[in-house]
């Protein structure tokens, strides 16, 4: 393989695959660098189905979804580096990689960061008590059960209602475990509605909202947990705490973009997503570096990752070819009801603009309103808006006269 490319895509998960394939359609020389020994990323351990409903109009498992893209590579001249980790990116795009073959320098003109996300550790929720064996993140549990063919315990408490935790609740039940319940600190679940129904309700696994684990008990192996109700001010009602006997605690307490390389490069970060600040092309604060997928902001549906990443690949190609229009920028702000919005910047033109965001709480019968200079450009009525599900609005840039602001407004009368 050569070490000179037009575009290097870092990460070979669903985001990396989609952006590399799109970019190569522009006749450019593209490489994917993946640290694992196979492509597909997190999808490889998601052996459940539910992937591809929107993009392929069929229900696939994670590996099947990934394979569709891996097969598409055949028709391209994309170079794939496996078992290869990017250690460092120098300005003007010299990439240092490490693999069992050695260190390598790769030079390129454009970069797509598709490095995925990682799970938050127990410290992030200040999990108190002892620190025995038997506390495991949902992603680790998924890898051990699905890929290494081992089990993680028998009586299991799940902390946090993230999607992986919900999926694992069902998976562990399948393998004969007693899944005692899912405890969520917030008054609403953080996972998708369909996962609550298909993974918990269908198997009679209780979901406890506004309740959390306040203490772990056990010296060598987990012996149990104390759970307590959470008050409105997020303090714990310790008078009502109760002991639950269990031998395993699975943590599903949130994902956060893997932004090490971005930080190393000093790319501007968005504290609300923990990913990069990007413009409508998914370009970061350094021209020529693009970010997409879970490495940009955590997605719940892979089909959206694919679509977003195709745009990143396409725009990176246009950047390399000098075709990216970045004149007359405007900002995208968010107001009431939103936790964050992506992108932060767009440019005048006549194409369409995709805006992604998450709400800050559950809204029933509410309007998503997009305004530009007080002019309402778009209003979408939604029966329900959930923080767990990323929303998007697509607008035509022709209608826009300046900066945009997105808000959510609940219909008071209902």
């Amino acid at each position: 393989m050569q070490n000179n490319y037009d575009i290097v895509v870092i990460g070979g998960g669903s985001a990396g695959l989609a952006s590399a394939i799109k970019a190569s359609k522009y006749g450019l020389k593209v490489a994917i660098i993946e640290r694992d020994n196979k492509l597909g990323g997190i999808l490889n351990q998601c052996i459940h189905n539910g992937f591809g409903l929107s993009y392929f109009k069929q229900e696939l498992t994670g590996p099947e979804y990934a394979n569709k893209f891996i097969q598409m590579l055949d028709g391209t001249n994309i170079d794939v580096y496996l078992n290869t980790t990017v250690l460092e990116i120098k300005k003007h795009f010299e990439i240092l990689t490490i693999s069992p073959k050695g260190l390598e320098k790769i030079v390129c003109k454009g970069i797509v960061l598709a490095t995925g996300c990682r799970e938050r550790p127990s410290g992030a929720i200040n999990l108190c008590g002892s620190r025995p064996a038997g506390i495991i993140s949902a992603g680790s549990a998924q890898k051990i059960v699905n890929l290494q063919g081992k089990m993680i315990g028998k009586d299991i408490v799940i902390v946090g209602s993230g999607d992986i935790g919900l999926i694992m609740a069902r998976r562990l039940r399948f393998e004969g475990a007693n899944v005692i319940g899912v405890y969520e600190i917030m008054p609403y679940p953080s996972g998708l509605k369909r996962n609550i129904v298909q993974c918990l309700d269908d198997y009679n696994i209780p979901l406890h909202l506004s309740k959390t684990v306040v203490e772990v008990v056990g010296k060598d192996r987990v012996k149990g947990v104390f759970v307590a109700p959470v008050k409105n001010d997020f303090s714990f009602d310790l008078d009502k705490r109760e002991f639950i006997k269990c031998d395993t605690i699975v943590l599903s307490i949130g994902l956060t973009p893997s932004n090490e390389l971005a930080n190393q490069l000093g790319l501007k970060q968005n504290p609300l997503t923990n990913g990069c600040v990007v413009d409508e092309y998914l370009q970061t604060s350094t021209s020529g570096i693009f970010s997409c997928g879970n490495g940009l902001h955590v997605h719940d549906i892979v089909d959206n990752v694919t679509r977003e990443s195709e745009r990143a690949g396409e725009n990176c190609a246009k950047y390399v070819l000098g075709q990216l229009n970045t004149t007359t920028p405007h900002s995208v702000y968010f107001g009431d009801g939103l936790r964050y919005v992506n992108p932060s910047v767009f440019y005048e033109g006549d194409e369409i603009l995709t805006i992604n965001f998450r709400s800050s709480k559950i809204y029933k019968n509410a309007d998503i309103i997009v305004k530009s200079k007080d002019k309402e450009i778009r209003k979408i009525n939604k029966k329900i808006i959930l923080p767990a599900e990323m929303e998007s609005v697509i607008i035509s840039k022709k209608d826009i006269v300046g900066d945009l602001i997105v808000t959510i407004k609940e219909h008071k009368d209902e």
Partner: protein, 478 residues
Amino acid sequence: MQKYDVAIFGAGIVGAFIFDTLTLKGLKCVLIDKGEDVCLGASKANSGIIHAGYDCARDTLKAKFNVLGNKMYPEIAKRLGEPIGECGSLVVGDKDSLLILTELLNRGMYNGVKNLEILDRSGLEKLEKNLNKNIAYGLYAKDAKIISPYHFTIALVEESLLNGGEIKLNYNVNSIQRQNDGYLISDGKENFMANYIVNACAEGVNEIGSLVGEPAIPLTYTKGEYVLLDKDEFGLACRPIFPTPTKNSKGILACPTVNGNTFFGPTAEDIKEYETSVTLSGINKIKTSILKMIDNVNFKRIIKLYAGVRVKTGDDFYINFNENKNYFVIAGICSPGLSAAPAIAEYVANSLIEKGLQVKAIKFTPRRPYTNILKLSNQELSNLIKKDKNYGDIVCNCEKVTKGEILEVLNRTPFKLTTDGIKRRLRVTMGRCQGSFCYPRLIKIMADYYNCDEKEICFRGKESLIVCDIKEGGIYAE
């Protein structure tokens, strides 16, 4: 039967220093611990500070050994290839703190501490960027240093093992008998002899003491809880920053580690039984105290909570050599025990030599530090991967630890390691994701190396199993 000059009980920093000091003087020593690894007590969960020595009361063993130990550390660190941060330390306070800081300075000078200086706000700002606006003065102790206490303990034990020392782990001694030609020591399975016994068992000191027929030493326990932050927060404190001390404790500090993290703690909670759980009230105390001292703190960046226990007997260390019995006891080594440990070891060695133990010159074999790919130049790393491709295979993404490094440590450690043991040696699973990516693979690599099933790999002791077979339906299936 195997016979040793000295049997040292307790493989914490104190026991490890004594073991190493005596071994390098040519004495035949054995280090014994009831745990499955070395360094499972206070020495693995403390602040890692080599104090300057201003804080200890005048004319105490604490003061004496702390000041001496502090001077010894840099050379030992160099010999072991262990990192040491010569960053100094600060005690800071508001506009009314000058009196207390001056008293500390005077006490320090009395104790023989050099390089102490009181700084005003502008002096402090040259050293630290995140001090709260109420902080007006600080005592700067240039001689304070930071180390990784568990890594240091492990390195000391390794060095002794390379130079003729022996170790017995998982050894639950149940009888110690004085015979004409020394002590007969037994756990009911394995017996051996030793001329001298050194008891450095901290919380277990009376377990050994009673077997030797010594009266119990009264012990009290004070727990210290900590929070550890993501490496992104490094620089919040460039050196240990203490509040002005109270009678009971040096207070909750902000401190960097030699590995590039920042931590806050410890609390000082008197407890009845030795246990290391972390409490909500402890964490809240840490947060409140730190905010009074440091700005720009982001508690969302906490990745780990932990705690250690100070074992005390009275106000000072208790170090006693019963010459009739050939029995040394080193007890109540609370803070600044880490700082004092090399000097305590030297004192123990000298006492034993005075009593008649013969020093012998040894052919010194230096300890090679563990390979750390992050410390190699690109050229060195390339060459290493060419020789062994495992050094190019990253297992822990957060801390960038390779399969080669893991195999190297498994290979050179003469006993079976736990995942926690590997973690303390190499930092694998110790980074910001705390092993959520690499833990499954680490277990697999260890099982392959030990040629056992993954379910036989433990987190800590034998009871701390991690995974089990799927069809059995659970680790604790009835």
